[in-house]
């Protein structure tokens, strides 16, 4: 999967906005939205929120988890634990990037939030790498990882699968009298 595809999926998440226009309820394939009244908060998908923001028709309200103190606590927890801690949102990385790129004037202390989210991401990816490394070197058959998000899985997916494939081929070629069709050119 491409990271942009993951971002596309992330855009379906709901976020709160405060519009400055009024519109009746709209009926879209994915569900109903609205009605929109100026000054009253309403929940919309992120893709719509960003489009409206770029047309200067709304103000985006940052999600509850996007707060400096909460993120600091999460970061500390993540650093202490060996396993993965629960994430604020299954798409926290993508949402942070999208909202901070397009609506940083609506989000207080945007720079600190960016740094904190990056710290959390780095810690988790480091744990993931460690775990993948031990998985391969100890030749485990299966592993259980909780609380991983799609973006993180996506970063390791191709590497892990290809390396496991390679290992399998190498190992099966070590055994004498191997069956046909195992010599493949790379």
């Amino acid at each position: 999967m491409d990271p942009s595809e993951v971002e596309f999926l992330a855009e379906k998440e709901m976020v709160k906005i405060i519009p400055n226009f009024s519109l009746d309820k709209i009926y879209l394939i994915g569900g109903d939205l609205g009605p929109f009244n100026p000054g009253l908060p309403v929940d919309v998908p992120v893709w719509l929120a960003l489009n409206l923001k770029q047309r200067q028709k709304c103000r985006i309200v940052p999600p509850e988890w996007m707060d400096v103190e909460k993120l600091e606590e999460m970061r500390e927890l993540e650093r202490k634990e060996d396993t993965f801690t629960p994430v604020p949102s299954p798409y926290y990385m993508e949402l942070t990037k999208l909202l901070l790129n397009h609506a940083s004037d609506n989000i207080p202390k945007a720079d600190e939030i960016r740094t904190l989210v990056k710290d959390i991401w780095d810690t988790r990816i480091a744990k993931l790498r460690l775990s993948a490394d031990s998985f391969i070197s100890q030749q485990e058959a299966h592993a259980k990882l909780d609380n991983l998000t799609l973006m993180e899985i996506n970063t390791i997916r191709s590497l892990l699968l290809d390396s496991l494939n390679c290992m399998f081929k190498l190992r099966s070629n070590l055994q004498p009298g191997s069956s046909k069709g195992q010599f493949m050119d790379y």
Partner: protein
């Protein structure tokens, strides 16, 4: 000219409401006519930005009856037909801008019979209710006056001609169109910081190119300052500080040294008109004075010749105050000017005048393969914050242009190329002059002309010459043998920036029957095929 920032704002407004539009940059009346002919079938509404107010638009373009024109133009005087036309022409003008338009009755006459020479273009007039609003042509065939009505008519017409002459004699500029559009956006509550910044750039462009008086500049700056404070207080307070990437506009009482933050301080002082003319840097004495000035401020030469960003912090901290103090000693009382600066991200700090110079340099860059529209798009790009490379390349071009201007000024003064032709001063740039290609464009040539006049006034001892206007000619197209001519009013502290050369050039062209192309919207620059004609006294 200042089309870029207005166009930006206009497109921003249109984008908000998802209105489809086509953008056509034009460089002169001919371009405007061609563009209009190309598009007139498809469109009903035309918005003219910074062109079209000072000429009779309906007569020039011959539009259909249902075409409507919205004109936002700073060129004054506004043609009287445009002012009094109710149906097809809508002017966007600030209320306090004093137009001084003569009253309707003085110019037009509701009369059934008309005397005089009806030009062939009465067809649009014919569509309006007959007998109510007719326009009399200026050029009348003189008939023998026998009746009172005819006498009265003659008086009226002479009076009218006088009024119109007074009204149209001097050309000047009104409030920046960029500011007009910003106010429009503000009224519609669609104003953003970006638009505010573009309005500031529009205003600064008027000041940099000497189109408005100092008073007007200061007044308009005060207006902009109100908007800037309003935007700055909107989002920011102590606890919730904004991201560094957000755009911040701040009021600066900054130095009048062009591009100094993107150059070295030394180069900036040498190439800014104000300092170069005050020190007379084309003379040896002037250079010595400059060294004294730098020593007086305690700035080591090594530091001053370095790129500004690499100068020591300790020097940069109080630089403005130190320079102001020393400048006062050397007779430069106005080294600081009120302006605005923008700052987004950690690296990007620009003053409004930096952006003006960059955009102007890009707009008139003299590369062979680029058409005027390409240059326009590049300049437009540079003003948006997303294309900083373009902006930096614009700043580099502006530096080259300024250096070329200074060198040309120095050589003109040292070799006495400025001749006094009686009522005016005259200078002609020969074809072999270095960088003469840069000066084949009206804005660059006008800039050179103004700097040259300032420098001349500072260097000459002849008191009478100081009060004369300057006409400058430069080759426009070497292959075709055309020349571009610019005229500017005399240099004075209290100048009201009104330029009479538009009409003067037209008269001169007629009286010498030379082939001229009065193509530019700013009527004080023209092309002339035969340069000798301009030496005829006006």
């Amino acid at each position: 000219m200042r089309y870029e920032n207005l166009v930006f704002k206009y497109s921003a407004l249109f984008h908000c409401d998802q209105i489809q539009y086509t953008l056509v940059p034009v460089t002169g009346w001919q371009d405007l006519g061609t563009a209009f002919l190309e598009h007139k079938e498809q469109f009903r509404y035309f918005v003219l930005i910074n062109c079209g107010a000072n000429v009779d638009l309906l007569e020039m373009l011959q539009p259909d009856d249902d075409s409507i024109f919205f004109i936002c133009d700073t060129h004054r005087p506004v043609d009287v037909v445009n002012v009094y036309n109710d149906t097809q022409i809508k002017l966007l003008i600030k209320q306090d801008d004093d137009l001084g338009v003569p009253s309707y009755d003085d110019i037009f006459r509701d009369d059934d019979d008309e005397e005089g020479d009806d030009s062939g273009n009465e067809s649009d007039e014919g569509s309006e209710p007959s007998g109510k609003r007719r326009r009399f042509d200026e050029y009348l065939v003189l008939l023998i006056l026998s009746t009172m009505t005819e006498l009265m008519l003659m008086f009226h017409l002479f009076h009218r001609r006088e009024i119109l002459f007074d009204y149209e004699q001097y050309e000047y500029h009104g409030t920046s169109a960029a500011m007009m559009f910003f106010e429009l956006a503000w009224v519609l509550t669609k104003d953003t910081k970006d638009m505010l910044w573009w309005a500031v750039i529009g205003l600064t462009d008027q000041w940099v190119h000497d189109k408005i008086t100092h008073m007007k500049y200061v007044t308009d700056i005060a207006t902009m300052q109100r908007h800037v404070s309003r935007h700055n207080h909107r989002n920011e307070d102590e606890e919730n500080s904004l991201s560094i990437d957000c755009m911040r506009i701040s009021f600066e009482y900054d130095l009048r040294l062009t591009l100094y933050q993107h150059w070295s301080l030394y180069e900036s002082i040498c190439n800014s008109c104000y300092t170069s003319c005050s020190f007379k840097l084309w003379t040896l004495n002037g250079q010595k004075k400059l060294q004294e000035f730098l020593a007086d401020m305690g700035l080591p030469l090594k530091q001053v010749r370095q790129k500004f960003n690499s100068m020591d912090m300790s020097i940069k901290e109080n630089l403005r105050d130190v320079i102001e103090e020393s400048s006062n000693k050397y007779g430069m009382k106005d080294i600081r000017i009120q302006t605005f600066g923008v700052h987004f991200g950690f690296k990007n700090r620009f003053l409004a005048s930096d952006m003006v110079h960059a955009a102007a340099a890009l707009l008139e860059s003299a590369e062979k393969d680029e058409s005027n529209s390409d240059n326009f798009i590049k300049a437009l790009d540079a003003l948006s914050r997303s294309n900083l490379e373009r902006l930096h390349s614009g700043i580099d071009l502006a530096k080259k242009k300024l250096m070329a201007v200074q060198q040309t000024v120095a050589s003109c003064i040292c070799t006495n190329l400025i001749l006094s032709q009686g009522p005016f001063l005259y200078c002609y740039l020969m074809e072999g002059t270095p960088d003469v290609k840069l000066f084949s464009k009206p804005m660059a040539l006008t800039l050179l002309c103004k700097y040259l006049l300032k420098a001349f006034v500072h260097s000459t001892r002849n008191k009478r010459c100081r009060l004369l206007p300057l006409i400058m000619a430069a080759p426009k197209d070497v292959d075709k043998g055309t020349v571009i001519v610019v005229g500017i009013p005399p240099e004075s502290e209290t100048s009201d920036k009104k330029n009479f050369f538009g009409r003067a050039f037209e008269k001169a062209a007629e009286s010498t029957s030379s082939r001229t192309l009065h193509d530019h919207f700013d009527t004080s620059s023209k092309f002339i095929y035969n340069i000798c004609s301009i030496l005829h006294p006006l």
